[in-house]
């Protein structure tokens, strides 16, 4: 009840405030008019970028931690992963600004934003990948070892396939987390009333949470309604991602249950 009530209150409240702005123009007009098309595209672009950057690095590190690392490397990797997990998102944004935007001369850009978001969700992906692999019954690893399969082939062909639903569901939830983030982006993405481009550097990118943040502080009912509408779309993306994550997670659980005969 204590959990359900605020969740429902937020969804209903945001939806109610967004009502005047809801309509197809949201998806067909840009933020300089009555829509948020450019912000939606930018947010989706971030998701794709995070999937590529954090997905590759995070899943790779998770596999390494679960199956290959030992001793000092394992402890070091775990330590840094925990440090990152505890890092406030605003600090990640600020560090991204100082290094990527200023020092590397990337300016406000797609890549700087994607990197900042990726750093934020990386520990989560590492953890879920590691857990998914550890949940694969050890009998399978023993069977593979008993056949003289090398470690790499064991991981690739025997352990990864059953762990895949769990890994992907972790990825999806990580994307969901990054969808609602604002702090790391304030310092790295910039904003633009134009549609985002695929340029990695020097081109500012519009995104949904920025619309919420900015329009709420502009006086006037229309701006407030647009802010709420951007919130509704963000929530929509979030709910879709969470639903996909849950479906995959339940598939992962069924997989594991079936294998532990």
């Amino acid at each position: 009840m204590l959990i359900a009530a605020p969740a429902i209150a937020v969804i209903v409240g945001v939806f109610h405030q967004a009502l005047p702005a809801l309509g197809w123009q949201l998806f067909t007009k840009r933020t300089n008019s009555t829509g948020i098309q450019n912000a939606i595209l930018g947010s989706l672009l971030f998701l794709l970028g995070v999937l590529i950057v954090a997905g590759t690095i995070g899943v790779g590190a998770g596999i390494y931690l679960a199956e290959f690392a030992s001793g000092r490397t394992e402890r070091a990797l775990r330590f840094f992963s925990e440090v990152l997990a505890g890092m406030p998102s605003i600090v990640i944004g600020y560090i991204g600004y100082v290094t990527l935007v200023v020092e590397f001369h990337w300016s406000y850009s797609l890549l700087a934003a994607v990197m900042a978001l990726s750093v934020l969700v990386l520990p989560y992906i590492v953890k879920t990948t590691e857990v998914a692999l550890r949940n694969v019954p050890s009998a399978l690893g023993e069977a593979a070892a008993g056949l003289g399969l090398p470690r790499s082939a064991t991981v690739r062909q025997v352990l990864l396939p059953p762990a895949l639903p769990g890994i992907v569901s972790g990825l999806v939830v990580a994307l969901a987390i990054s969808t609602g983030e604002l702090a790391p982006l304030l310092f790295t993405a910039g904003f633009s009333d134009n549609d985002p481009t695929l340029h990695l550097f020097h081109h500012q990118v519009p995104y949904l949470t920025n619309v919420v943040f900015t329009d709420i502080s502009i006086p006037g009912a229309r701006a407030h309604a647009t802010a709420a509408a951007a919130g509704v779309v963000t929530l929509g993306i979030l709910l879709v991602l969470i639903a996909i994550g849950r479906i995959l997670a339940s598939r992962a659980r069924r997989n594991t249950a079936r294998m532990s005969l």
Binding site: A144, A145, G146, L147, G148, L149, P150, A153
Partner: protein, 289 residues
């Protein structure tokens, strides 16, 4: 081109004096003439805990050797020394000597994965991979680069494991669609697909019903013309039915710990009719264990 990758061990040179030096066979037992394994004074440690001591025996080629004894007597630990599967557990240590075809199994430079390709294993619970029936058999030959006609190889192995007739129409189905007994025979087919010399079986029937158990036992007897088989079993009737030689293990609790040890080894007939050690007799006649 269906050759195995070059093994790192040298070919067998069985030194007769090594066999003659094994002291624990019951008197009057014919020793295996051609030993695949010669084990001398093997001891095994999990960290500081000694799990096994005083194991000395020879395992004959194309024979079935049964390892019997009460729970916790180190049978499973011992059989896992024979293919170096215990290497996977950190902090474990082996003392003594195991010769495989005349060369030390634990010598430096001998790679465990090469050993395990020559010494297959079937586990207590059937543990097929979450793949199709076909892929379960084909995976190890594929990874090891065996270039045989894979369809023929899969059929041959499934036939050999007495499973072909039951699965030939559904090779692409999941291995989990099979019954427990069928899964265990699939695991046997998977093990023989890389043409090992030895098959180790760790209580292969303990999770199966009596009918499935009999099928596996029949299969073991058929397979011994091509393979050397070592089987751990809790079931003394099973040892009596299938094995040529039997080794009896027990637990020594005298020094406060629980250390498994081998008591005696001999031909199965002699072990079940006239064991030379009182502890074996007590176990076999059901006075303990």
């Amino acid at each position: 081109m269906s050759e195995m990758p070059a093994p790192t061990m040298t070919e067998p040179t069985v030194d007769p004096s090594v066999l003659a030096a094994t002291p624990v066979d019951a008197p009057g037992t014919p020793r295996p003439v051609d030993a695949v394994f010669t084990v001398e004074q093997l001891a095994f440690f999990y960290g500081a805990n000694q799990a096994l001591r005083d194991v000395s025996l020879s395992i004959g080629r194309h024979e079935i050797t049964a390892l019997i004894g009460p729970s916790g007597c180190g049978k499973t630990t011992f059989i896992r020394c024979l293919n170096r599967l215990n290497d996977l557990i950190p902090g474990t240590r082996v003392e003594g000597r195991i010769d495989f075809n005349g060369s030390s199994l634990y010598a430096p430079g001998v790679r465990a994965i090469d050993i395990r390709r020559r010494i297959g294993m079937v586990f207590q619970k059937p543990n097929p991979f979450p793949k199709s029936i076909y892929d379960n058999v084909a995976i190890a030959p594929k990874v090891n680069g065996i270039r045989a006609n894979m369809d023929e190889l899969v059929e041959e192995c499934l036939t050999r494991a007495a499973l072909w007739d039951e699965v030939k129409g559904k090779l692409r189905d999941s291995a989990f669609s099979l019954s427990g007994g069928q899964q265990q025979r699939l695991c046997i087919a998977r093990a023989i697909a890389i043409r090992p010399e030895v098959i180790l079986m760790d209580e292969p029937c303990s999770a199966l019903d009596p009918v499935a158990t009999i099928r596996i036992e029949e299969l073991m007897v058929e397979l011994k013309s091509d393979y050397t088989i070592v089987v751990v079993t809790h079931n003394m009737q099973q040892a009596a039915r299938v094995s040529d030689r039997t080794a009896f293990f027990t637990v020594d609790v005298s020094e406060g710990g629980r250390t498994g040890m081998m008591v005696e080894v001999g031909s199965t007939e002699q072990m079940f009719t006239a064991p030379s050690d009182q502890r074996t007799d007590d176990y076999i006649t059901g006075r303990f264990g």
